[in-house]
């Protein structure tokens, strides 16, 4: 049974693994926009820095949206390729991260339209995988239990409608504030908040159903 608490939001503990959130940038590191400028001036290393910063967040976002690690790798490849090809024309009308998230979301939507990958995840990646390629993180001594719970949560998230799942994944796993999500989706903040409310409620209902 999942823990229940009625105290304030601060009591809600563990956060998502560091480095996944918005392509974590250190205090001394250049911003994405600075890297774009450097690239546009012919500095090829700037692209490498960008890949180092973003490849993991892109992969994790795509995995949670498509439900398929292999599809996610394809999405990452396509996203980075589009980035490389589009950087010279990037004018900075939107923030770079906003643009990048849009690309990932659109690619994931395209792929989902072609086939229902969510079903595949429930059969493959959420199960215990031994290929060591892109497995669910194993923590502590309760590996089997952790995997089981992770699989249940993954199934519940992937069963959410796309609109709700996108908001929930961007907010929870990528730490994007609601206004930033609104910018990525091109929707009002109120709509984004409504989707999040619906997403969390649906998720709780589905988890309760899966637990029983």
């Amino acid at each position: 049974m999942l823990e229940t608490s009625t105290t304030g939001p601060d009591s809600v503990v563990p956060r998502v693994a560091e480095g996944v959130q918005r392509g974590a940038i250190g205090p001394m590191e250049p911003s994405d926009e600075e890297l774009v400028l450097r690239f546009q001036r012919g500095d090829e290393d700037a692209f490498e820095a960008m890949v180092a910063r973003w490849n993991e967040p892109i992969l994790q976002l795509a995995t949670r949206l498509t439900g398929d690690p292999e599809e996610a790798k394809d999405v990452r490849q396509m996203t980075l390729l589009k980035t490389y090809q589009g950087l010279s024309r990037f004018e900075g009308r939107a923030r770079f991260s906003t643009w990048l998230y849009r690309v990932v979301l659109n690619l994931c939507r395209d792929r989902q339209r072609s086939h229902d990958a969510r079903t595949r995840l429930t059969e493959s990646s959420a199960e215990a995988r031994d290929d060591g390629d892109y497995v669910l993180e194993e923590t502590g001594f309760h590996v089997a239990r952790d995997r089981e719970v992770a699989s249940v949560v993954a199934q519940a998230v992937l069963a959410l409608p796309t609109a709700e799942r996108e908001v929930l994944v961007l907010r929870h796993y990528h730490d994007l504030p609601f206004p930033a999500i609104a910018e990525v989706l091109g929707a009002p903040v109120t709509t984004v908040k409504s989707r999040m409310t619906r997403g969390l409620t649906l998720l709780r209902t589905r988890l309760a159903a899966l637990e029983t």
């Binding site: 923590t139 796993y173 609601f178 969390l200």
Partner: protein, 259 residues
Amino acid sequence: MKDLTPSGSCARMREEMPAFLYCELEAEARAELEQHLTGCASCRDELAAMRDARVALDRWRLASAGDDPRVLAREIRRQAEPAVVVPAALAPRPFMPRGSHGSDGSRGRLVRLAAMVSGSAAALFLALCALSTEVQVGDGSLRLGFTLPGKHSPSTTALAPELEQHVRSIAAQEVAMREPGLRQSQEELAQRYSFMTKEEMLQEILRLSQAVDVALAENQRSWDDRLTTLRNDAVRNDIDQRRAISDIYSYIRPASTDR
């Protein structure tokens, strides 16, 4: 029977709960929600359910893929380089003899036959090279022109327009083949942006159409580049060939005069 429909106030408060859970609520709105929660058991339950869901989300963790960014970046750069694609019509076809899965004996005969054919082809090629042969393809026929050593060598520029026309027709076919796919992509995008107003959607489609035009123009440019490369290669090969023939003759002539 108890009414489970949230009142207007409750519905509004519930919309703010995710922002509350993720510490994004302004102080005033937060105070209002907390005030509401003290008097509304239904909303307290709702908030507890959302918090459960949020805690559960932390259980789905993904291990890092651990890919080397330098390798990834290199791969992307390689992919981004315009690939020289040989059109199917011009690509060499693998030798696939009928009954290639037959016995060793028949395979041996085929190998010997292939060796003889390729040997003959090589000999013919050398002969044509030595005679500075000019090959012209046109009107469904093949024309060969020979120039004896010492005479004025034929120019390869006569071949270029036909080659150019041929490559251009292949390029035009490719573009025509891709057009339906591009149109379908436009329709899909229109569906995707269904939340837009009609005017916004029309603008978006216009923007995409322009992007498609640009892509087509780039495609054409890329073919032009390939054509230039092909032409340059042909000229270079021709120069090399003449140089080789000249070398051969400078080697042969003293020997023949000795005799």
